[in-house]
Amino acid sequence: MAGQVKDREAFQRLNFLYQAAHCVLSQNPENQALARFYCHTEKTIAKRLVLRQDPSVKRTLCRDCSSLLIPGLTCTQRQRRRKGQRWTVQTCLTCQRSQRFLNDPKHLLWGDRPEAQLENQADFKPSEPLPNIADLSKENVQTQALNTTE
């Protein structure tokens, strides 16, 4: 079982607001204002408490007007080719802001990589043992004494 999460209540609240926005839109697709309000509140809370949200959640919120981006309902999604690469272009229908995401099946977000997990990170072990500070200070004292006698 996972350990105790810091700001658990805040994350629960963010989760609820995101679900509430989806719930409102599923009941009535025309009611985008309320869904937008909930998403805006969610973004403000996350910013205020400095909470990092998952990129999959952030990609479904418009960065300008905080609309919940659902393809075909609140945004359009198009596949574009540029410089030999495929891009997904998402355009919000409220504020016309567009976001581009690269279609790379090999791409992994940092959080999903195995080295990002704390237990998989190798403990830092220096190749050479660090010198004893006390010994160094003694050596310095000896050299100073030699200099003074000369």
């Binding site: 209540e9 805040a10 629960q12 609240r13 609820f16 607001l17 679900q19 509430a20 719930c23 409102v24 599923s26 009941q27 009535n28 025309e30 009611n31 204002a33 309320l34 937008r36 309000f37 909930y38 805006h40 509140t41 403000t44 809370i45 205020r48 408490l49 960065r63 300008d64 007007c65 905080s66 409220t94 504020c95 802001r97």
Partner: protein, 221 residues
């Protein structure tokens, strides 16, 4: 001049091409006469210097492109723009109580999860502390006390909470905008009744999550 414009045919070349072989002097005289006839305004010296000029091949010239301006990072819409665009205004045709019943069910589920099941032996202080930080959108809220008597008794699902106002939708499909100031609200969750003193609750929904509430003795409408 001979080296620049022409060279004399060798004996072999003249024979191959069946060309009458002229003497060097005659050939040069012919070329000079031809040039004088073709370019009468130019002196002989100018003509020779003009013909001897070599073309200088310049390197490929790249036109300096104007430096692209760094794209301004959009900071989102301001509060004024949001008001003008009416981004958060609920349209009258969407103001139906039945549409928001699933939202209320979702809220109840969220509160139960937040308060670890709301068991009968749970301490009320703990629930109150959790409710202060909890989200109230979707809660069934009713006005129990108010300085304005027309607000008392209004019950409905809370749709929007702003700094000074609760927007509640009643069972009659009316969207009521009730100020927090001088009002006491009641929230009922599974037989737990909690009172909210609006005057002490005048914060934005997002600000309340980070705010530390202090227990103060005097509570007045």
């Amino acid at each position: 001049m001979k080296a620049v414009i022409y060279h004399a045919f060798s004996h072999k070349e003249a024979k191959d091409h069946d060309v009458q072989e002229l003497g060097t002097q005659r050939a040069e005289a012919f070329v000079r006469a031809f040039l004088k006839q073709s370019i009468p305004h130019m002196s002989q010296q100018d003509c020779e210097s003009h013909l001897q000029r070599k073309a200088v091949i310049l390197e490929y010239f790249t036109r300096l492109k104007p430096k692209p301006r760094p794209k301004k990072k959009s900071k989102g819409l301001s509060a004024k723009q949001r008001r003008e665009l009416r981004l958060f205004d609920i349209k009258p045709e969407q103001q139906r109580y039945s549409l928001f019943l699933p939202l209320h069910e979702l809220w109840k589920q969220y509160i139960r999860d937040l308060c670890n099941g709301l068991k009968p032996d749970t301490q009320p202080q703990m629930i109150q502390a959790k409710l202060l930080k909890a989200d109230l959108h979707g809660a069934v809220i009713s006005v129990t006390k108010s300085k304005c008597p027309s607000y008392v008794g209004v019950t409905g699902i809370l749709l929007q909470e702003t700094k000074h106002v609760f927007k509640i939708i009643t069972k009659e499909d009316h969207l009521k905008v009730i100020p927090k100031q001088n009002c006491v609200f009641t929230i009922e969750i599974d037989d737990f009744i909690s009172y909210i003193y609006g005057s002490k609750f005048q914060l934005r929904a997002s600000e309340r999550s980070a705010k530390k509430f202090k227990a103060k003795g005097t509570i007045d409408l």
